[in-house]
């Protein structure tokens, strides 16, 4: 049996300000994920760290432990690899006052 694999676009042109996150995504069938976050436009303000989060139910979220720097320029891309995440996944960050970025976030699962 060929291994299952998929790419999911979980944020497409979403504008992030303040506390922001991708929509909950279920990936319980997968054992590993690579997540890319790309800035589609020049971000404004200081770009903070972002966090991968896990959830028991898609509604309550906890840090998975992986953090990364949000891209600070147009077409900048951040990438993380994770495994052992259960089912629900999302990326969350908290942009400071006045900061804004337009993102494309993709999750690559297998």
């Amino acid at each position: 049996m060929l291994r299952e694999s998929t790419t999911a676009v979980v944020a497409r042109g979403d504008v992030w300000r303040g506390a922001s996150a991708t929509e909950p995504f279920e990936a319980g069938w997968a054992s590993e994920a690579v997540i890319f976050v790309r800035a589609l436009k020049p971000p404004t303000g200081a770009m903070p760290l972002a966090h991968v989060e896990m959830s028991p139910d898609g509604m309550r979220w906890m840090p998975e432990g992986t953090t990364f720097q949000m891209p600070a320029e147009r077409d900048g891309i951040a990438m993380v690899r994770i495994a052992h995440f259960g089912n629900w996944l999302r990326v969350a960050t908290d942009l400071p006052d006045g900061a804004e970025t337009t993102v494309l976030v993709t999750i690559h699962l297998k």
Binding site: G13, E26, L40, M59
Partner: protein
């Protein structure tokens, strides 16, 4: 059994060569819960992945910002075990997984997933699927009126110049304005198009807005919502359409067959690059600031050829 031929079971009854039964292992692969026409165009059991279903995107040129606003909140479908905080994974009808469409958490949000095909023959086709829907169970409440609607549409175009692009739409309007509606609706007419981008090579229309929905004749139907947001029950839906005449011939949900005498589709002059298009779309809409979920256990599209 419905009126369509059953694979491997109706050879003596079938006198049309184009409808000759084809050998299938229906029981093993789950097709026996459907009543397909003689040719299986696609059978999507979401225990085998997303089977070619993807998220809808609006047309754009140069920038995603050129996309019409109605398309922007659309999200990606995913494989789900229907996991609930209080009971764990509900699972699908016959396996662990279903395909889940999940909206964003605001009122009047919509998401759409689709499968893009083309037609081999302008003749009868049959869409069948097993589905269920629920709001996100983030309150210890029934939340029965949080999902506005679930529905489906075909996006079709004939194979030669002079034809039409035809888009039959049906939705189950579950609730609006905090009140249960529980009725089936359709949409027809000629939509407004917008130019997309400066090159004027692309147009777009958002055909899933709130405007234009009309009640089917005898539209009311109460479905099995069950008693709390984390209990779900699967429902059967069947829609027959004739690609030769571009008319709907049968619509059924569970035990109800609906009168289609007043049904019609959105009809548009044929577009320059959509010949023989056969797209199948599913959607779910919210009626509250709460995510709405449409789950599809399996989808079977068949044709008479």
């Amino acid at each position: 059994m419905a009126d369509g031929p059953r694979h491997g079971m109706t050879a003596a009854l079938d006198t049309k060569p184009v409808s000759a039964p084809r050998p299938l292992i229906a029981t093993e692969i789950g097709l026996d819960r459907f009543d397909p026409l003689s040719r299986i165009i696609s059978y999507d059991d979401f225990n085998r992945g997303t089977c070619g279903w993807t998220q809808l995107i609006g047309n754009y040129e140069g920038s995603l910002d050129a996309m019409l606003p109605g398309f922007r909140p659309i999200t990606s479908p995913m494989l789900s075990t229907l996991g609930h905080w209080d009971t764990g994974s509900h699972g699908g009808m016959t396996g662990s997984y279903a395909m889940k469409l999940a909206t964003r958490p605001f009122d009047d949000a919509i998401t759409v997933a689709l499968k893009r095909l083309t037609a081999r023959k302008a003749g009868p086709i049959r869409l069948e699927f097993y589905m269920t829907f629920k709001p996100e169970a983030n309150e210890l409440m029934l939340s029965q009126s949080d999902v506005k609607a679930i529905g489906f549409l075909l996006d079709l175009q004939g194979g030669s110049a002079g034809g039409q692009r035809v888009m039959p739409h049906l939705r189950y309007l579950n609730a609006s304005g905090g009140s249960l509606q529980e009725k089936w609706q359709f949409k027809r007419g000629f939509p407004d198009f917008s130019d997309i981008g400066e090159a004027k090579e692309t147009v777009s229309h958002f055909h899933l807005g709130e405007d234009g929905w009309e009640d089917l004749s005898g539209a009311s139907q109460q479905l099995c919502y069950n008693e709390i947001p984390t209990k779900v029950n699967w429902h059967y839906v069947r829609f027959d359409f004739d690609l030769a005449t571009m008319t709907a011939t049968h619509f059924q949900c569970n035990d109800r067959v609906f009168d289609l005498s007043a049904f019609d589709s959105i009809r548009i002059p044929a577009m320059k690059n959509l010949w023989c298009m056969l797209n199948v779309c599913m959607f779910v809409e919210t009626a509250a600031d709460n995510r709405a979920f449409l789950y599809l256990d399996s989808v079977c599209l068949s044709g008479d050829f």
